[in-house]
């Protein structure tokens, strides 16, 4: 869920790092849903047991002592953890600002009341599958009813109603209907986040990447809607970075402000970093947060600029975007030290333009002989959970 990615005002990735201001706890990979755009690792079913409550509480205390202050609770679906309320209560007592990122499945009146009591500050409700929910919305069927009830509960308990919708080729043409659905849910803030291509979304990229024309139409529709609801709703439209000319300043540089902990206790400098080769990620079961953040090889690996290759190494913008996303560099080029190929200056930028061109063709021709080569859409589930690294050689 892209909502978990910080847009921090904090400036640089210095060799001597500041505290991990942002802490993301991925409490579980368990989830009642099977979203094709999920960023969870594709081999999630192979990961170890989830941390017990006491370990999560220790992580909270240690991170807070270092200066962590923004807390994201996500997953999987964090509501499947029965100790969510206990984790929220401890985080609140420690002084965290607590964001829950949820599909809303399992958010009953009793649970939201308990979470509010425990000190939860904010809820971001995600659409699980906006195509299905939109169909439900148009036909007034059950899933949409459930979502409406959850949205009403969120408002009733005094939280702003914040909705996150992941866009991709299969639903982006319906952005107008999606926004009407958000309005019907009483959303005050809507984030239309184009899919980021990691995890399950990477496997499904050929099906999910929209064409430039689709993107432009969606932005125009969003702009008209924005004007109509000005003052009542705020709408953010996040363009997929495959269409940008410069890479995003991913995580403000790895190891600069962001610390994520996976369900099994693996500590990561970004929630997708588990895929990076040669990065021996430390576990909170074996080390404390201070030594993980400041001393571990994994968290120091991409600090500063020493790891950069050309063209980043001599680029005047290296202090602004830190070379872009390491995971994207690895997935697309096979080497996490390369310039993120989203950047026009990357010698491998053609990998990105080729993917966009394939999307353009697919958009023009629809499913046909060209599309037949592409793999089928893979829904996230345990049986299909496979290691994504086997996909990489084919794409080099």
């Amino acid at each position: 869920m892209s909502g978990a990615v910080p847009a921090s005002p904090v400036q640089t990735a210095a060799p001597s790092p500041g505290p991990p201001l942002w802490l993301l706890l991925e409490l579980t990979y368990r989830c009642p849903l099977h979203c094709v755009f999920c960023y969870n690792p594709t081999d999630f079913a192979r990961t170890g047991a989830e941390l017990p409550t006491a370990e999560w509480l220790r992580v909270l205390r240690e991170a807070r002592a270092l200066g962590a202050v923004q807390l994201g609770l996500s997953g999987g679906e964090p509501l499947v953890r029965e100790d969510l309320e206990a984790i929220v209560a401890e985080a609140h007592a420690l002084g965290f600002y607590i964001n829950l990122i949820t599909s809303g499945v399992g958010l009953t009146r009793a649970r939201i009341a308990a979470l509010k009591d425990a000190g939860l500050d904010h809820i971001q409700l995600s659409f699980q599958d906006s195509t299905r929910e939109m169909n439900d919305f148009l036909s007034s069927t059950r899933t949409f009813e459930l979502k409406s009830q959850v949205a009403a509960l969120i408002r009733e308990f005094g939280y702003p109603m914040v909705l996150n919708v992941v866009l991709h080729r299969l639903n982006i043409d319906h952005v107008g209907e999606i926004l009407e659905m958000a309005e019907a849910l009483g959303a005050q803030y809507v984030e239309l986040a184009n899919t980021q291509y990691y995890g399950w979304a990477w496997l499904n990229r050929a099906h999910l990447l929209p064409s430039r024309a689709q993107l432009e139409r969606a932005e125009a529709v969003t702009q008209r809607f924005r004007e109509r609801v000005a003052g009542r709703m705020q709408i953010y439209f996040v363009v997929p970075d495959y269409f940008e000319r410069r890479p995003k300043a991913c995580m403000n540089g790895l190891g600069s402000v962001f610390l994520a902990i996976a369900p099994d206790g693996i500590a990561m400098p970004c929630h997708a970093a588990r895929m990076l080769p040669g990065l021996e990620l430390p576990s909170v079961r074996a080390a404390d947060i201070r030594s993980i953040w400041y001393d571990s090889a994994a968290f120091n690996r991409f600090r500063g600029e020493g790891w950069m290759k050309e063209p980043c190494r001599s680029c005047p913008e290296r202090g602004k975007d830190f070379g872009g996303c390491r995971c994207q560099a690895y997935l697309l080029t096979g080497d996490p030290d390369n310039t993120d190929p989203v950047c026009e200056l990357s010698p491998q930028h053609a990998l990105v333009t080729a993917a966009v061109e394939r999307a353009e063709r697919a958009g023009r021709e629809g499913p046909g002989p060209g599309a037949a080569r592409e793999q089928v859409l893979v829904f996230r589930d345990h049986r299909r959970s496979i290691p994504v690294v086997t996909e990489v050689p084919a794409r080099r």
């Binding site: 909502g3 978990a4 910080p6 847009a7 921090s8 005002p9 904090v10 500041g18 505290p19 201001l21 270092l66 200066g67 202050v69 923004q70 994201g72 002084g95 600002y97 964001n99 500050d121 904010h122 971001q124 005094g158 939280y159 702003p160 914040v162």
Partner: protein, 92 residues
């Protein structure tokens, strides 16, 4: 907005949190998935915006605490900015 009356009672907006962060040596304003590190004057003003004190009382308290005078215009300008950014809201 510099015509804010002295009697308004600014408060930290609902859903936001202001707190002192020793690790950052600053007051920090926390909001959904974001934060702003405040400089010392902004921190001093915001930490007095409790929805109970009027703008005039906040100015008087600041002038007293820091042994200064003539802060009203600066405080009023900052409060106006913070209202515009929705960091503060006015209470009855």
């Amino acid at each position: 907005m510099s015509d804010l009356p002295d009697t308004v009672k600014p408060a930290i907006s609902q859903g936001l949190k202001l707190q002192w962060e020793p690790a950052q040596d600053a007051h920090v304003l926390l909001y959904p998935e974001g934060m702003v590190k405040l400089n010392s004057s902004a921190g001093a003003i915001m930490s007095r915006c409790d929805g109970a004190r009027t703008l005039a009382e906040i100015v008087a308290d600041l002038e007293h605490s820091y042994g200064l005078s003539g802060l009203a215009a600066d405080v009023r300008a900052f409060v106006a900015l913070a209202l515009q950014k929705h960091w503060l809201e006015l209470r009855e």
